[in-house]
Each structure stands twice: as C-alpha cells, then as structure tokens.
C-alpha cells in the first residue's frame, strides 16, 4: 500500500499538525502528532484494553499472527498499523515475503527494524554496524521497490553518524517514515539530540514523518512534539509496567509508593488498588500496562488540544520545568538554533493568551522574532520631537488599560501629541513602540508583574530599548515616567546612549494625580526642546493614531518603508464590528488596500495593496513567491506549484504570488510553511490562497 504525509499547519518551534493518508479511496487517514499503541497478546486478552483503544488511530504489531487478514480487515479496518519486529532483518524480510498481499492492500506501514547491535563500543564500532546494516537494508529495497517504508535509525549517541543515513534516505524516495530508535534514550546528551533533529530538518525532506521509539516516557512527549516528532511509540511503557512502574506523567513511581491513586481510569478504578501491595501478580502488571497506556493516550490528547487551541509553548515550558535535561534542550534550542526555528514558527498565533512563565519564556522563538523584527523594521517618525517611556499594563492592548488611559489623558492635552513617540517597557518583549501595541505577541502576552525584575529581564528590555533609541537623534529628550524595575531599564539604557533622560517624579504610583502632574510638567518643559528636520502638519492624515499604527504594522510585517508605500494617500479605515476587522480604503480612489485583523494584529493586503508595496521588476524577497504558471486555481498552493521563493519566509505571513514570468501579482497567500520546508520538500501545502486575480 502507499501512504503519504501532509503538513496541515505549522505551529511554534518545529511542532506541526499533519495527516498520514493510508488510503485515498477509502479515506483512511490519521492525524499527527499521535501515539502508537502496541498490540500484544497480553493486552488483547483484556476486554478493557479493546474497549479503551478500539477507536485509536494507530497500532504497532510485531507478530505475524496479527498480520492475518481477518484480524485486520474485520476488527480494525479503518485503523492504521505500523509493522516492525524486534528480531532480525532476515525475519522481517521473510514476513514481508509471506504476507505481500497484506502489505500491498491493507493499511499497514512496514518499518524496517534495526535491532542489533543492542549497544555500541565506540564510534568506529557504531559506524561499521550502521554501514553493514544499510547494505542489508538496500537488499530489501531492491527486492520490493514498490513499497513505502519506514526506516529505523540508530546512532548510538553519536549524532554525527546520522550523516551515513542521509545519503541513503535521499536516494530512496520510498522511505516515508524515520523511526529514531535511540536518539532520546539518553536525555543528558541533549546537544546530540538537537544536532540530530536539526540535521534532519535541514537536510532531509520535511515531509518525512518523524517517529520515535525506545526509552520514552510521556513526560517527554510535549518537548518531542515541539522538536517536530509526529509519532511516538509507547512500547516502553509495557517494559516499565513489567518493572512495576506507575506513570503519573509528572513522575514515574514504583507502584508500591502509590498511596493515593491519582487516576480514575478503568484500571485504577478496578482492581489495581487492591493489588498494589501484592509483590508478584501478573494481573497487577496487566492493569499497570493498561493504566500507563491510557495515561499516555490522555496526555497526548491534552497535547493535541493545546497544540491546536492554546499557547503550546507555555505548555512545553511547564512540562519541562522539573527535568533539568528537558530544560537544557529547550534552552539550547532557543539560543543556538533560533536562526533555523524562526522560519518554522508562525509569525502570529490567533486568539491565544500567551503566558510568560519566567526565564524559559524570554527566548521563545516568537518573542525573539518580535524583538529582532521590531528593531530591524521600526523607523522613527520624522516628526518626533519627544520620546516618552511608559510602563506596560496587564490589559492588552495597553491603550485600553486604566493606566494608559490616564497617561493619554495627559498626553492628549497637547495638540502636538502626534509628535510624541511613546515606548512601552515590558518583559520579556523589551520595548514596544505604541504603534505596535496591537500586533502579536504584544496583544496577547501576560506575565507576572511584581515590580521586581531579574537581571535577565532588565538586560533584554534595556538592550531592545537601546537599539530603538539609537535610531533617534541624540538631541531628542527622553521622558521616563517609570518606577522600580522599569526605571532600572531606562537607567541602564541611559548609560549607553548620548540622549538626555529625564525622570518624572513618582508619588506612590505612576497613575497617581501627583505623578501625572509631574509627567505633564515635564512634557511642557521638554516638548519644544527639539525641532525635527522634517515637520509635518498636524492635520495630516498620517498623524492620526490608527494610520500611524497601520504604517508601522506594515513596516513590521513587510520591511522598512512598506507602510508609507502602501498608505500613500489618505486612508479611510472602516471598522467592521462583527468581524473584528478594519478595512483599509484609499480615500482618493476608493480602493481597498487590505484589512487589519484585531485577533492577529496583522494587516492582510489585497492585490492592490501589494501592488503598491512591490514594484516591478519583482525580485525574490520575504514578501513574494513565484507560481509555476500564469493563473492560480483553488484555495491552496502546493509545493509543486512553486517556482521560486526567498529564504526568509515565515509561516502565517502574507505573501504576494506572481506568475512565472514575474509580470504581475496573481494572488495573495498566507503561508502554511516557512522557507525551510519549501527548500527541503518536493510536495505539500505551501499557502492558503486568500485572493486571486
């Protein structure tokens, strides 16, 4: 049989939602990420096991008896099966030979095993074994070239040995699943683990399904999915059950330690409680197997729920908090591999509260992306004569908070208010110009605020602030209406900048009457200290609050000066209440340039809007992809239809689609994947088509 993988959606990090299709005709497919439940005689004898898992998507079978057609076609006809064995490759070949018709017609995916050696002496030893193994595997491919396979990969803790597999995998296009057998066996080798994952992502087709087996416990699942794992083999839980371990997810406890069963699954509600103290009991082991598998399944469902509908990254951080190795993996991934992961992580998440849990959140990829992109693409307004630094607020966007309304009540007393550049200091996003308060993640994040900031937070915010303020003329005064940790940020920035920092007096809190008066007095004193080179009329459309926002949001999304290119005339923003959008209509010619969405904080440009942004001759950039044709049809652009693309494309960003000759923009798309996927894959969905010419 043939099967293939489709990426449906990129999520944060390398995590993704996909689908493995086993039969187009019968419409049998299952979603990833997913766990693989082992089928064993001992489990099949338990009626509760069958009841619990009869509707599960994917099972693993290793014995020939389960290949019998009756069993597969009657009981589990709409289910997927992974077939592998723990024996020799010769035995595997023999089983393939004897059951060819089953493999050809049914919903079974054969995974070529790699079971010996069970351990390695040295890198040389491992290298020799891998090469020898692949010679034997080659024979399987030659004998059955029409099958699609999974390939088991063992690297014996030497991540550099993955190179031996790379050319082999590239040569054999019918390898569809990579089964990483021992990559996660030793979590303390976290750099090796990351090297392996990164290499797979960088050098191999991203449509390959990543499966993991070996010594894996549910606690590791969230991080594995974050690393791009699609399928997880749960067989190890049976081994742990045989060792009398009870999994609570947070901990793997010997059963004798359990005094209060924290689960109400069918096993725990049944006899398990009565058998805890029984030293030798095969019934107890049966029930432990059942509980551990149910527990893993429930956890996977939770993961899928959060992956789809919540801020998955916060869940990852929480789940790794009490394991030093998992923390290390996350840390190293954030710091050392950001340049790769930024092109895998969607630029926005819609409608999600993004919780910052502490230091583990500071360098999450969407936050790093925001800080870097904002600094790179933010250009000071030419008419700015005063900079005002303000503290952030719990309510987002800041303008809707009580505190900021009070700040605005002071600022807006001044008719030249548009000349003031407000910058909001916040952890861990750093420093946010007012114009960007509606974009992701500024519009969604939440963090514990006590007034105390740690050194890292101050550093991140100060560094970001410095980079923004460096863009301004050094003679522009900077008014700081800040206290406590916020004040420390400004004081730290002051040390590195030639600008004049002036601090207001805070009486009690920044929103007290006296504090606001102090701010007002400072504004009066300093607002005319600097005369910008390019003045601007107060009545100019471009000083209107929302216009200023749209211009800077467009710069943020599409690069410096994008805003002014698109919004070159007067703009009439029309808010559509029910949709949570604002249409951007050019007043002069009534053209719809696009719309702003409150849920994402992004502007979706129309073809007209994009035409103002990108002029002929079109060149490859982060805003443009070239279609392999003249006209786009349908709602989805696939990889095969992609002719040319840039290397800085990020999922969920908007791009213009041009025809193959780059003569005109023929559509607007919203990317499903980033440039890394496009580069390394020959198939799959690339973008949702929003508008066609």
């Amino acid at each position: 049989m043939s099967f293939f993988f489709e990426l449906l959606s990129s999520k944060i990090g390398f995590s993704r939602i996909g689908r493995i299709s086993l039969s187009k005709e019968r419409k049998i497919y299952f979603n990833t990420p997913n766990i693989i439940i082992p089928i064993k005689n001992t489990l099949m004898k338990q009626i509760n096991f069958i009841q619990e898992f009869e509707r599960h998507d994917l099972f693993q079978i290793s014995k020939e008896i389960f290949l019998k057609i009756g069993f597969l076609r009657e009981k589990f006809k709409d289910t997927g099966f992974i077939f592998s064995n723990i024996g020799t490759l010769d035995k595997f070949k023999e089983l393939l030979d004897q059951n060819l018709d089953v493999f050809l017609k049914d919903n079974i995916i054969p995974i070529i095993p790699f079971n010996i050696p069970t351990t390695s002496l040295s890198k040389d030893f491992a290298e020799c074994e891998i090469k020898n193994h692949l010679i034997k595997v080659e024979k399987v491919f030659c004998k059955y070239p029409d099958f699609n396979y999974g390939l088991s990969i063992k690297i014996f803790e030497y991540s550099e040995l993955l190179d031996i597999y790379i050319s082999f995998i590239k040569k054999h296009k019918n390898i569809k699943i990579l089964n990483l057998v021992d990559v996660f066996d030793n979590l303390s080798n976290y750099r090796g683990i990351l090297n392996t994952i990164i290499k797979i992502k960088k050098e191999l087709d991203n449509n390959l399904v990543i499966m993991v087996s070996g010594r894996i416990i549910p606690k590791m699942y969230p991080l594995m999915i974050y690393l791009g794992v699609d399928l997880i083999d749960t067989s190890y839980l049976l081994y742990l059950s045989a060792e009398n371990f009870y999994d609570t997810i947070e901990y793997l406890l010997p059963i004798y330690k359990i005094k209060y069963l924290p689960c109400s699954c069918v096993a725990c509600k049944g006899e398990l409680e009565n058998l805890i103290d029984k030293k030798y009991s095969s019934k107890k082991i049966d029930l432990l197997c059942l509980h551990n598998l149910i527990s893993a399944n429930n956890y996977m469902n939770k993961i899928k729920q959060y992956l789809n509908y919540e801020d998955f990254r916060a869940f990852i951080e929480k789940s790794t908090l009490d394991d030093t190795n998992l923390i290390s993996i996350l840390k190293v991934l954030d710091r050392d591999y950001f340049d790769l992961i930024r092109y895998e992580t969607p630029i926005v998440q819609k409608n999600k509260e993004v919780r910052c849990l502490g230091p583990s959140s500071y360098y999450r990829p969407d936050f790093q992306e925001f800080r870097e992109r904002m600094v790179k693409n933010f250009k000071p307004e030419s008419w700015t004569s005063l900079i005002i630094l303000l503290p952030c607020s719990a309510k987002k966007p800041y303008s809707l908070s009580k505190s900021h309304k009070l700040f605005h009540s002071i600022l807006r007393k001044f008719s030249d208010f548009p000349n003031f550049q407000e910058i909001v200091l916040t952890s861990p996003l750093g420093a946010v110009p007012r114009q960007l308060e509606n974009i992701y993640p500024v519009n969604s994040y939440d963090i514990s605020v006590t007034g105390d900031w740690n050194t890292e937070e101050i550093k991140i915010s100060a560094d970001t602030l410095i980079k923004i303020l460096e863009k301004y003329d050094k003679n522009i005064p900077i008014l700081c209406h800040l206290e406590k940790g916020y004040k420390k940020i400004a004081q730290r920035a002051e040390l590195s900048l030639p600008h004049k920092f002036v601090f207001s007096e805070i009486y009690g809190k920044p929103t007290s009457k006296e504090s606001l008066e102090s701010l007002e007095q400072l504004i009066i004193k300093y607002k005319n200290k600097f005369t910008p080179k390019e003045g601007i009329y107060q009545e100019s459309y471009i000083t209107k609050t929302w216009i200023r926002k749209f211009i800077k949001i467009l710069d943020y999304q599409f690069g410096l000066d994008s805003g002014i290119k698109v919004i070159s005339n007067q703009l009439r923003p029309i808010k559509i209440e029910s949709d949570g959008k604002i249409n951007l209509i050019d007043l002069e010619n009534n053209e719809k340039l696009g719309y702003f969405s409150f849920s994402t904080g992004q502007i979706c440009l129309s073809i007209i809007g994009f035409s103002r942004l990108i002029k002929r001759p079109f060149s490859i950039s982060s805003n443009l992809i070239v279609f392999d044709g003249i006209k786009v049809i349908g709602n989805t652009l696939f990889r095969k239809g992609l002719f040319e693309f840039g290397f800085e494309l990020i999922p969920n960003s908007y791009v213009a689609i041009t025809d193959i000759e780059k003569k005109e923009i023929i559509g607007i798309g919203r990317l499903i994947v980033g440039s890394n996927f496009m580069q390394n894959s020959k198939s799959g969905r690339i973008a949702k088509i929003i508008q066609k010419r």
Binding site: I86, P117, T118
Partner: protein
C-alpha cells in the same frame, strides 16, 4: 580475521588485563586436572552417564593470541598460560581416570568420556601427540565408555590427526565438538570474535565425516549485542541449518557471564542480560520436531543456570528449579513434549513477554 576492529581491540585489552592479574599455578596444581566428575547424561541413543575431565594445559591459542579470544569465554583463567609438560598432563589425566575407573567399570550404565582442555584437544602446544595417544590407549580398553568427545578449533582438525584418533579408538563413537556458536558469520566474528567462517566449518564437518567421526556443534545462545528475540531466531536458524548439514549433536550453550571476559564488562554496565529460560524453550520448540530428534542429538547443560550470571528467569528458586528440570528432562529423554510440562507456573512469564522488547 582482522584484529583491528573496535571489538577485537577492546576484547584484547580486557583479556590482557585479566591475564596480568592471574597468579601463576604451582606444580601441585598442575599435577591435577581443573575438575572431573560423573553425572547422568544423554548418550547417542539412551540415557547414560558422562565422565568429564577438564585438563589444565597452556590454554586456548585463540584466547592467548592477537585477537584476545572469544568474547564470552573465560576458561583461559583456568589455564597455565605457560606450556605444561606432557608428563604433567599425563598426571592430570591419570589422576581423574584412576579416581573413577573402578566405578565406571563396575557400573551397568554406559558412559560418554568428555575430555576438555578449554582449548583445542588437537593443538600440539596444548596436548602433544604422545599424550593424545596415551589418552586413546587408556580409553580404548574401557568397555563401558561407548562414546568419546573432545573439543577443538577447526584450524587444528587436519586429516592426519583425525585419522589417528579414528584408528586409535576402535569402534567407539567419537565426536569432535566445535564451537561454531551460530551459522551467522557476522554475529560469530563481529560479536563473538570467533575467527572463522561457516564455510570453514563445513569443510571440517565433511572431513570428519570422511573419517567416520561425528561432529558436535556448540551453539551460543544469546551472544552479546543481541536481544532476546534475535537470540531465539538466530539459534533456531542455526539449529535448522546444522540439522540440514548433518551434524550429529548440537549442544546449545546459553551464555553465562565468566570472569574477566568482554561480556562481563558489558554485563557490569547493564548492557547485557543473560537469556531467559523461556527464550531457550521457545527456540527449541520453534526449531525441532520429534522427527529431527531421530537424526540429531540436542544437548544443553548450561553453566550457572538459575543464577544471575547464567540463564535465568526471575531468580525465584521454584521458577529456576522448574526450568532446569524441564531442560534436563528434555535433554535426557530427547522428547520435545517435555518442554511443555508445567512443573511450576511463574508470574515472571508475563514480565518476560513485556520486557523482551528491551532486553
């Protein structure tokens, strides 16, 4: 065979380390064999007794050589390392033989004489020709001794020596035991470090047959780097192949952890677990039927059985005793049905089934 493979290098280092720490043997120790005993055993066609003598010689040339020997074998620890004079070897043999000969002569049972030197009987550096002739001569006269078995690596099995043995031992049934360990060349040479190919074994097998000598093949059950399932498959495959080749006896030796060996090094690091009895029984059931047992004798007398260094299940006394008894009954009676006898049903079978994947 190549001696610069990582396994051979490590194996050699461990071997040399062990030998360095070995204390030299004194003359009194060299006058007596390592061990000798009489016990019940399976003869070719009936139950009888074995008389086993383990001679102390210089030691296996393979273990003392460049490659460090087989990865699981620690018998070199019993050897002298330095040459042992023919007279001392003669003393050893006489010591054991004279000790038991009366009992043997007066016994109604038939005997198999097993002369082991934890090396090669036909290696002149271990047992010179004169001593071999002496042993043959003394053995020939004992009527109760119907069968004789000696061990040797294949490089010492030339026609001359085989003819000599055949001629000296009259009508007695003679078997040459060869440690083939597995029919898989890769496993044999890369994991056991044996140093010869299946084709080499086949040539020697034919040579022995030409000279009317039987061959007993030793199979190693669960070599290092192998999991339980592959152990079953490998051994099953080996048994079937050897039956087809026409060997006379197959002795299945579950690996036991001997001191100073490469396997012990892995075992200490929890990277190797000796096999379960359940796996051995499964292997036997998979590969042999009662009809096969008319053509070939299947033997298994594991060392250290029921202990953590040897083949074992859960180490519970009743479970281990039961398994040993089942195996012994099968071997003595050459009856496959004995493997299904339920002397004791242990809970550990479930544990075995679940842990097999990761052992």
């Amino acid at each position: 065979m190549i001696s610069n493979r990582p396994l051979a290098i490590k194996n050699k280092i461990i071997r040399q380390d062990t030998l360095k720490r070995k204390k030299p043997l004194d003359i009194d120790q060299l006058k007596q064999p390592v061990s000798f005993w009489i016990k019940e055993d399976r003869l070719l066609n009936e139950i009888g007794k074995e008389f086993t003598i383990i001679l102390r010689t210089k030691g296996c040339s393979w273990a003392l050589g460049e490659n460090g020997g087989c990865t699981m074998c620690g018998y070199i620890n019993d050897a002298n390392i330095e040459p042992v004079s023919p007279s001392l070897i003669k003393s050893q043999f006489d010591f054991a033989f004279d000790n038991k000969i009366d009992k043997i002569k007066n016994d109604k049972e038939k005997y198999i004489l097993k002369i082991f030197n934890s090396g090669s009987f036909f290696d002149d550096n271990e047992i010179p020709k004169s001593i071999r002739e002496y042993i043959f001569e003394r053995t020939l006269d004992i009527k109760n001794i119907n069968e004789i078995v000696v061990e040797s690596r294949i490089e010492f099995l030339n026609s001359e020596k085989l003819i000599e043995m055949r001629n000296e031992l009259g009508n007695k049934y003679v078997e040459i035991a060869i440690g083939i360990e597995t029919v898989d060349d890769y496993i044999r040479n890369h994991y056991i470090n044996k140093g010869f190919l299946l084709d080499d074994f086949k040539k020697v097998l034919n040579r022995c047959k030409e000279h009317n000598l039987g061959v007993k093949a030793y199979l190693l059950f669960k070599p290092p780097f192998i999991n339980e399932q592959i152990a079953i498959e490998d051994c099953s495959n080996s048994i079937r192949s050897l039956i087809k080749l026409g060997v006379n006896s197959i002795s299945i030796n579950p690996l036991n952890i001997q001191k100073g060996t490469f396997v012990e090094y892995l075992w200490y690091q929890k990277r190797y677990r000796p096999p379960w009895f359940y796996s051995l029984f499964k292997c036997l059931r998979n590969s042999i039927n009662q009809h096969d047992l008319k053509k070939v004798r299947i033997l298994s007398d594991p060392s250290g059985a029921g202990t953590k260094r040897g083949i074992h299940n859960c180490l519970k006394r009743e479970c281990e005793n039961s398994a040993r008894t089942i195996l012994k009954n099968f071997v003595l009676n050459q009856d496959i049905r004995k493997l299904d006898e339920q002397i004791y049903t242990c809970e550990c079978k479930k544990i075995y089934q679940l842990k097999k994947w990761f052992n």
